[in-house]
C-alpha cells in the first residue's frame, strides 16, 4: 500500500469540506475520483501533498505518517498536475522540467536535462523544449506540466481536474498522455469530470458527495452495478447527457 487515508477531515472556517474520508491506494493503481463540484474532491487531493493542511485524520504515505515527514521531501515524491497548468512563466519549457530536479533533488544540470528531455519526449513536447511557455496552447501547457511532474520521478501522480480548463479539442491529447503514463505502471489519483476517460483509464472509482466517499469500487462494477442511490442518480444524469 503506497497511500492510506484514514478519517481525514478538513474544515474551512465553519464549512466542513471533508468529513471522515477513508481510502487506500495500492502501487500501480489508477484511481479516478468523481463527483459533483464542491464535493471535496480537489481538497482531498490537495491534502495528500499538504497543499491543504488536514484538520484531523491520518495520511500514511510509504508507511510514514506525512505529518512526520519533511514537507518538501514528501512533495518531491508526489507529482501534482493542476487544472490551470501553473507552468513557471519565467522559464522556458525545458527549464520548467529541470528546476525541481536541480533545486530539490540536487541532480546535476546535465542529468536533469537528459531526464527532462526524456519526459518531454514521452508527452510529445520535445520539439518545444526551448519555447516560451506563454506561446503554448492549453493542451501543450498541460502536457509540459505532466512532464515537469514526471521529471521528479514521483512515486505517485495526482491530477486535479487536468482537462477542466481546456478547450474541448485539446482534451483528447492530454487524456492520451495521461493514459500512456498510466500504462507505464505509474500510481495515479485523478480528479476528473471526464466520465468516459475515467471508465477507460481507471482501475477503481471513488465517488464523492458532500465531503464523504459514497462509493469506492472497481471501475466496471461502479458503472454497471452502482450500489448507492446517489451514485445511480449521478450516473443516470451522465448517461443522459452523453446520449
Amino acid at each position: 500500500m503506497i497511500l492510506s487515508i484514514k478519517n481525514l477531515k478538513k474544515d474551512f472556517g465553519d464549512g466542513e469540506v471533508l468529513k471522515d474520508i477513508n481510502f487506500n491506494v495500492e502501487k500501480g493503481e489508477c484511481i479516478c475520483v468523481i463527483g459533483s463540484s464542491g464535493s471535496g474532491k480537489s481538497t482531498m487531493l490537495r491534502c495528500i501533498n499538504l497543499l491543504e493542511t488536514p484538520t484531523s485524520g491520518e495520511i500514511i504515505f510509504d508507511n510514514q505518517n506525512i505529518k512526520d515527514m519533511n514537507v518538501n521531501v514528501l512533495r518531491s515524491k508526489i507529482g501534482m498536475v493542476f487544472q490551470s497548468f501553473n507552468l513557471f512563466n519565467n522559464m522556458n519549457v525545458i527549464k520548467n522540467c529541470m528546476v525541481g530536479q536541480i533545486k530539490v533533488l540536487k541532480r546535476a544540470k546535465n542529468e536533469a536535462r537528459e531526464i527532462a528531455l526524456k519526459e518531454l519526449e514521452r508527452v510529445g513536447m520535445q520539439d518545444f523544449k526551448d519555447k516560451d511557455v506563454k506561446s503554448l496552447s492549453g493542451g501543450q501547457k498541460q502536457r509540459v506540466a505532466i512532464a515537469r511532474a514526471l521529471s521528479m520521478n514521483p512515486e505517485i501522480m495526482l491530477f486535479d481536474e487536468p482537462t477542466s480548463a481546456l478547450d474541448p479539442e485539446m482534451v483528447g491529447e492530454v487524456l492520451n498522455v495521461i493514459k500512456e503514463v498510466k500504462d507505464t505502471g505509474m500510481t495515479m489519483v485523478i480528479v476528473t469530470h471526464e466520465m468516459q476517460f475515467a471508465r477507460d483509464v481507471s482501475t477503481r472509482i471513488v465517488f464523492m458527495n458532500d465531503g464523504v466517499i459514497l462509493e469506492d469500487s472497481p471501475t466496471e462494477e461502479f458503472f454497471t452495478n452502482p450500489k448507492n442511490e446517489r451514485t445511480k442518480e449521478f450516473l443516470k444524469r451522465y448517461i443522459n447527457s452523453s446520449n
Partner: protein, 236 residues
Amino acid sequence: MLYASYFGWIGRIVEEYSLQILKGIGITLLLSLVGTVVGFIIACIFSYIKTKKDAGVICRILRVFVNAYVTVIRGTPMMVQALIFYYSFKLMGINWDPLTSGLFTVSINTTAYLTEVLRGGIESVDNGQYEAARSVGMGSFQTMLFVIYPQAIKNSMAAIGNEFIVNIKDTSVLNVIGVIEVYNACLMAGNKYFKVVEAMSIAAIIYLVLTLTSSYILKAIEKRVGSPVKEITSSN
C-alpha cells in the same frame, strides 16, 4: 534688454561654474543610482518578510518592524529624514560627511517605496505559480527566489525605473545637509550674482535632460527584459 541679460547671465554662470555644476550632476546621479540599487536590494528582503506565507514567529515580528518602517518613511518628507539622520548620527559620535549621509538617506527612503512596489509585484503573480513550485518540493525561500521574484521584478520594472527618476529630482532636498548636487551647485553659482531665476533655469534644464534621458534608457531596458509576465487564464 531683459532677455539678453537673462541668457547672458545664464551663459556667464555656466561658464564660470561649469566644473561645479558638472560635479553636481555627478553627485545627483550617484545619489539616485546608489539609492535605487541599495533600496532595491533591501526592498527585496523586506518585501519577502511582508509577503511570506506561513510566516513563523520571527518573521511576524520582523513584519511589524517592516510595516512600521514603511509607514514612517513614506509618511515623512525626505528633507526631514535627512536632517534627523545627519545630525542624530553626529550626536552619536559618527562624524560622517554630507554625501555619505545623503546616500544613506536616499537609500533608506527608496527602500520604503520599493518595498511596497515589490509587494505589489509579488501579489500580482498568480498563486498557482507558488503552489506549483511548492508541489515539486521547493521550499518557501527557493520558490520566492527562483519562481516568484523573477516574475515580480519583471512586473515591477516600470515602477522601479520611476523610482529612479523620482530620486533624480527629490535628492535636491539633500541640500539641507550640505550635499552639493545639481540644485545646490546651481544655487551656489547663482548666489554669487544674486541671479536665482537664471541659476534655477539652469538647474531645471539639467533635471529635465536627466529625467528624459533616464526614462528613455529605462524604456529601452524594459523592452529588452520583455513585457510584464501575466498569466492568461484562458486555455489558449
